[in-house]
């Protein structure tokens, strides 16, 4: 049987990761599901595991000089229940939509990111928060913007010796965020499409706006043209702005949940709903 490591310090964890390339395990909500899916068709999978659950200082949310540091192992429930400014309203809304309560109690924000599913509910929110991912290895620590960390469908820039240790969210005083998720049932549902947005007003006009759509491309995407079109507007004007051309960065596919054409239509509606929420 492959080894199972459960180190008690980050240094040990990084040393094991460097030496063995063992698969980092945190909340396990994806890894166990993958194991089951493979075993179901006679493909037993028991990789060497690097269990990060005993490593201190990997969870919790702390305010820093530049903004906030969210520990990699911070669960959705912690995010949903932490006192955070309106900048995090969208991420907190997503935290209540990931799986059921059981998954929210175990699933972690870094796990959602590293799995790099097109339908990961955290990812569009991290994109609009301008989050950076903190990657530690035995020799160094580096940071990458989310959009550079996610390199494609279920693939990331995580190097063999690296572990995600935190996410950094820059301060954006006065900003607030929202999240819209669409699924075919109320709970426990993989998103058909989703939209996330951060907005900061100066006076009664939009000074900063960041918009992203998920589940409509291999990696959730920001929509720069839409962001440009929204900048400077009065909030009441926002819902009327999104147009099909703004969705150019998206490449939706058809699957068991929805057709590609529907995803485009729905993304537009979700964007309008998202922006209407800012107008209220």
């Amino acid at each position: 049987m492959s080894a199972y490591h459960r180190p008690r310090t980050l240094a040990d964890a990084l040393a094991i990761r460097a030496a063995t390339g063992a698969l980092p395990l945190a909340g396990g909500t994806d890894i166990h599901a993958i194991r089951t899916a493979r075993a179901g068709w006679g493909d037993p999978w028991r990789p060497e595991i690097l269990d990060l659950s005993a490593v201190p200082d990997l969870d919790g949310i702390a305010e820093t000089a530049e903004g906030w540091r969210i520990g990699a192992r911070t669960t959705w429930t912690t995010i949903a229940e932490s006192p955070l400014p309106p900048l995090f309203d969208g991420l907190r809304a997503a935290a209540r939509e990931v799986g059921g309560r059981q998954v929210q109690n175990r699933g972690t924000i870094a796990g959602n990111l590293v799995t790099a599913s097109p339908a990961g509910d955290g990812i569009p929110n991290l994109l609009v928060l301008d989050a950076e991912v903190e990657l530690a290895s035995a020799g160094a620590t580096r940071r990458l913007p989310i959009a550079r960390f996610l390199t494609g469908y279920r693939s990331t820039a995580l190097l063999p010796g690296e572990i995600v240790t935190a996410l950094h969210i820059p301060r954006c005083d006065g900003a607030r965020s929202r999240f819209e998720k669409l699924g075919a049932r109320r709970y426990l549902v993989i998103s058909i499409a989703m939209a996330a947005g951060v907005i900061r007003l100066e006076g009664d006009h939009v000074a900063d706006v960041r918009i992203a759509v998920g589940a409509c491309s291999p990696v959730a995407r920001r929509l720069p043209a839409l962001e440009a079109a929204l900048t400077g507007l009065h909030p009441s004007e926002l819902p009327h702005v999104p147009q099909p051309a703004h969705l150019a960065p998206l490449t939706p596919i058809g699957d068991v949940r929805a057709s590609a054409a529907y995803r485009s239509e729905a993304a537009l509606v979700l964007l309008r709903d998202l922006l209407a929420g800012f107008a209220r």
């Binding site: 179901g40 028991r46 659950s53």
Partner: protein, 911 residues
């Protein structure tokens, strides 16, 4: 070793640190109260508390639970006890397989928040799937606890009383034993290797060498089947092999059986086994299978047509041609997965001289015995089937699954063998609801009286026959709906394909047909400018009317009463819709209505039940009840009927259920027959026992019985006698058999297919987001003629559960072989998807039934889907002809992102 603290007790357990905590609790510590439904975090059955917070134990590596406080359903906890009592009082546990998870989720909530509102309860239960209850009784049970409002345990178990299920206590304690929960310690583990291809030939290499190399006890294949390598529901169509013989007809077909330790069989990589595949083009869907050049999948089925169904009465074609008002349409439905939360599981124990005992979850022990005996090549009597608790069935556990595989393995090794299907295996290999393509036509006269109906229906029966003939024969009888229609021509086919076998699923094709027919009824109402309730009321079949089979309904035909009971709800719904839609463009309300009828029992075939009741000399009163309770509550209902007929309280009655060695044959738990058929047999048996007792005591008919130990007191108006049971020469036993009277159908489907029918109507209120195509069902009001509600609490549970499955069928459920073989791609309703449900019970007594009762379970499902479709149409003007109505399908029909105009064309009708 890992140290785990479970329910306050510290345990040392030897487990792979990566092993899911659910496995370690169940296998390592024997705490089987925690259930495994999917092992992927999709169903929540394994929910436990970890440091007080609910988690899926299947997603927690054992090492991660070290040092943490783990709470399981077995915990001794006062708040948990209150929840248990509330669950029982509310009927919140049906099959009980989700109950431990539900209890743990609720405990998590109530410890955090002692006064949650309904939304908070839904949020906390949203991660646990239930397939039986429709969630409402569970939510109410949790709210009862939050409000300090738990009903005291009921004591009145007489017929008509809402008595908590008699088998409920172990379900809420976590001590109920399902198929995967127990097996002999020395049992080998069996894992089936299944075809990943829908259509292929294969050759096997050296299995003995592979066995030795992989450290297995045996690798089983077709060569190891001692009897006939064939099974199937129909007596004359045993078309499915236990192990495929060089040729597979669907993805999921068993090819090999791996026998060994649990670890050894799990460690085998299927790709490493000596199977050489030659993949063939697969016939997916009936169009492919009916193509002129299609491969013939079975020698006995030219053109891949398994069977045709037919019913003709009057002249439908001529009437349709001449009718002033006509409607027609082509409708498509999908494969629907039963999604019972308990995957198939059980174990086999070999005995001397060919004997075999199979202990497994099932709906049909006597049929399992026949199938297993044939496969073993032994007489039926050599096989004993002992049903475990059944964690949901809905028709999917009528066919054998693990039974023949286990039997072959136990025979070959002469050792006990156990097997637990994975979720993927269960979904890929087990039967489904038949996808249907239905072309229906219907006509009415100028006054809105139906004059003709015609149906051509093709049902995709998949790779093997299973219950395909039953569907093909039941649909023609029911297709025109519960209406007076003098001219009917119905033709159906069950077609073999390379898809997953379709079999029995709550309603046997009638839910599919109702989708088509009820849409046409709405069409006719629209064409005539009639209200949709009005046209149904005008045509509702009732007492004295003749069915398309030529059967005159002499009694218990309460559809007119059902519709009358709904009239006020219907009018109120229409008013609400009109008021709302006058001012809302995007979120549109819609009201819908549908009716149904459903014959209880087999279609024009004998389907007897025999029941035995014994009052022993030691004072024990036992009902030997062969009717398996799959969660719907037959043990309780049949017990109530028997106790009432005997004249003793149900608390005095012990039951032995479903064991083929101990109980007479009560048939299968299907076709809504157990309350009606087995209940009647139990009533007759109990009456016969009562007659013997009264004769012994020389007492009159009205005598009151009471039992105290071995003293049976018989008191009538004149005298009181005490019988000392110990002094009797023998135990007092009575047995009765009941077979509902039917008459074989002739070539035109004329006869008496069923002794009685259930009737129901439902109205639905939906909210459609016309910009996204999403549908939320807000309310369903049900009126159902149940003959007599033996136990209104359990009847309500059946109706809620039927509505939930109907809602899933119409809005989200679509099994696609190879694509949706898990519970996150295949969606069933969650606690947040249910509408409010109100119920009007109509009790038009069935003279054949016990105290007037008839079947309840399937009728509850049938009208829901068409009522919701009718409501979607009312909201949007779109007649959907394909289910499930996924958001993208509705949007395609709505024609883009712009909201529909006001007023909608649909508002012209029904308002």
């Amino acid at each position: 070793m890992t140290a785990l603290t479970v329910n306050g007790t510290r345990h040392e357990v030897d487990a792979d640190p990566f092993a899911p905590l659910s496995d370690t609790l169940r296998v390592g510590l024997g705490l089987t109260g925690t259930k495994e439904g999917c092992n992927a975090g999709d169903c929540g059955a394994c929910t436990v508390l970890l440091e007080g917070a609910q988690v899926c134990a299947c997603l927690v590596a054992t090492a991660q639970a070290e040092g943490a406080e783990i709470t399981t359903v077995e915990a001794d906890d006062p708040l948990l006890d209150t929840l248990r009592a509330a669950f029982l009082a509310r009927g919140a546990a049906q099959c009980g397989i989700c109950t431990p998870g539900m209890l743990m989720a609720a405990l998590d909530l109530l410890r955090r928040n002692a006064t949650p509102d309904r939304r908070a309860v839904e949020d906390t239960l949203g991660g646990v799937l239930c397939r039986c209850t429709g969630y409402l009784q569970i939510i109410d049970a949790v709210l009862d606890v939050a409000r300090g409002n738990v009903a005291p345990a009921a004591t009145d178990g007489r017929v008509g009383a809402s008595f908590p299920r008699v088998d409920g206590a172990p379900k809420v304690a976590g001590t109920e034993r399902y198929g995967a929960d127990a097996a002999p310690d020395d049992a080998l583990w069996l894992r089936a290797v299944r075809s990943p291809h829908a259509h292929a030939r294969f050759t096997l290499g050296d299995l003995d060498a592979a066995r030795d190399q992989l450290g297995l006890v045996a690798i089983l294949s077709a060569r190891d089947v001692p009897g006939r390598n064939a099974f199937g529901i129909m007596p004359d169509i045993k078309d499915q092999p236990v192990f495929a013989e060089g040729y597979v007809r669907y993805r999921g077909e068993a090819v090999l059986g791996l026998l060994g330790t649990r670890e050894a069989v799990a460690a085998v990589r299927d790709a490493d086994l000596p199977i050489a595949w030659e993949v063939l083009p697969a016939l997916s869907g009936v169009a492919a299978a009916l193509a002129p050049d299609a491969a013939q999948l079975h020698a006995h089925a030219p053109g891949n047509i398994l069977v045709r169904g037919h019913l003709r009465r009057g002249d439908a074609e001529a009437t349709l041609a001449a009718a002033p008002v006509r409607a027609d349409g082509t409708f498509r439905t999908s494969f629907v997965e039963h999604a019972y939360i308990e995957p198939e599981a059980g174990y086999a124990q070999p005995g001397e001289d060919g004997a075999m005992i199979i202990t497994a979850c099932t709906q049909a022990p006597v049929m399992d015995r026949e199938e297993t005996a044939r496969v073993l090549g032994v007489p039926d009597e050599s096989v004993r089937i002992i049903p475990t608790a059944c964690g949901g069935g809905f028709g999917g556990k009528l066919d054998v699954s693990v039974q023949p595989l286990l039997a072959v393995a136990a025979r070959v090794t002469n050792q006990p063998v156990r097997m637990v299907y994975s979720r993927a295996e269960s979904m890929a290999s087990s039967t489904k609801r038949h996808p249907a393509i239905l072309h229906a036509r219907m006509a009415a006269d100028a006054e809105g009286r139906f004059t003709a109906y015609a149906l051509e229906g093709d049902f995709n029966t998949g790779a093997y026959a299973s219950w395909g003939p039953t569907v093909a024969n039941r649909v023609p009888v029911h297709a025109s709906g519960p209406y007076r229609v003098p001219n009917v021509l119905n033709r159906t086919r069950a077609v073999y394909t390379n898809d997953t076998p379709a079999g029995a699923f709550r309603g046997f094709g009638v839910p599919q047909a109702a989708i088509a027919t009820e849409a046409l009824v709405d069409d006719l109402a629209l064409a005539l400018g009639m209200d949709r309730w009005e046209i149904r009321r005008r045509n509702a079949i009732g007492k004295g009317d003749t069915t398309p089979s030529g059967q005159v309904l002499h009694a218990s035909a309460g559809l007119p009463d059902c519709l009358d009971a709904l009239k006020a709800d219907w009018d109120a719904m229409l008013a609400r819709v009109a008021a709302h839609n006058a001012t809302h463009r995007r979120l549109r309300l819609g009201a819908g209505i549908a009716c149904m009828w459903y014959g209880c029992g087999n279609t024009a075939l004998s389907n007897p039940s025999t029941m035995r009741i014994t009052l022993a000399r030691d004072g024990t009163l036992t009902l030997f009840n062969g009717a398996v309770d799959i969660g719907q509550g037959s043990t309780t209902v049949i017990g109530q009927i028997a106790a009432d007929a005997l004249g003793l309280p149900i608390a005095a009655l012990r039951q032995v259920v479903g064991d083929t060695a101990l109980t007479p044959d009560a048939g299968k738990t299907s076709a809504s027959r157990q309350t009606f058929v087995s209940g009647r047999a139990a009533q007759d048996a109990a009456k016969a026992l009562r007659a013997r007792i009264l004769a012994l005591a020389n007492a009159g008919d009205g005598a009151r019985l009471s039992l105290d130990g071995t003293r049976l007191t018989v008191a009538d108006a004149h005298t009181t006698r005490i019988l000392d049971l110990v002094a009797l020469d023998a135990d007092l036993t009575a047995e009765a058999r009941y077979d509902p009277p039917t008459v074989t159908l002739d070539a035109d489907g004329q006869g008496v297919p069923y002794a009685t029918y259930g009737f129901a109507a439902q109205v639905a209120l939906v909210r459609v987001d016309t910009a996204l195509g999403t549908v939320k069902v807000e309310e369903i009001v049900v009126a159902q003629d149940v003959g007599r509600a033996v136990n209104p609490l359990l009847v309500a549970g059946q109706i809620h559960g039927g509505v939930a499955q109907g809602l899933g069928l119409v809005l989200m459920e679509e099994f696609i072989p190879g694509r949706t073989e898990n519970l996150h791609d295949y969606l069933i309703p969650t606690a947040g998807d249910m509408p409010r449900i109100r119920i009007h019970l109509v009790e038009d007594p069935e003279p054949e039934g016990p105290l007037g009762a008839k079947g309840v379970g399937e009728p509850a499902l049938v009208p829901t889907a068409p009522a919701i479709l009718s409501a979607i149409r009312h909201a949007t003007g779109v007649r959907m002809t394909e289910v499930p109505v996924l958001p993208h399908r509705l949007m395609e029909r709505l024609g883009g992102g712009e909201p529909p105009p006001i007023p909608l064309p649909s508002l012209a009708f029904g308002v």
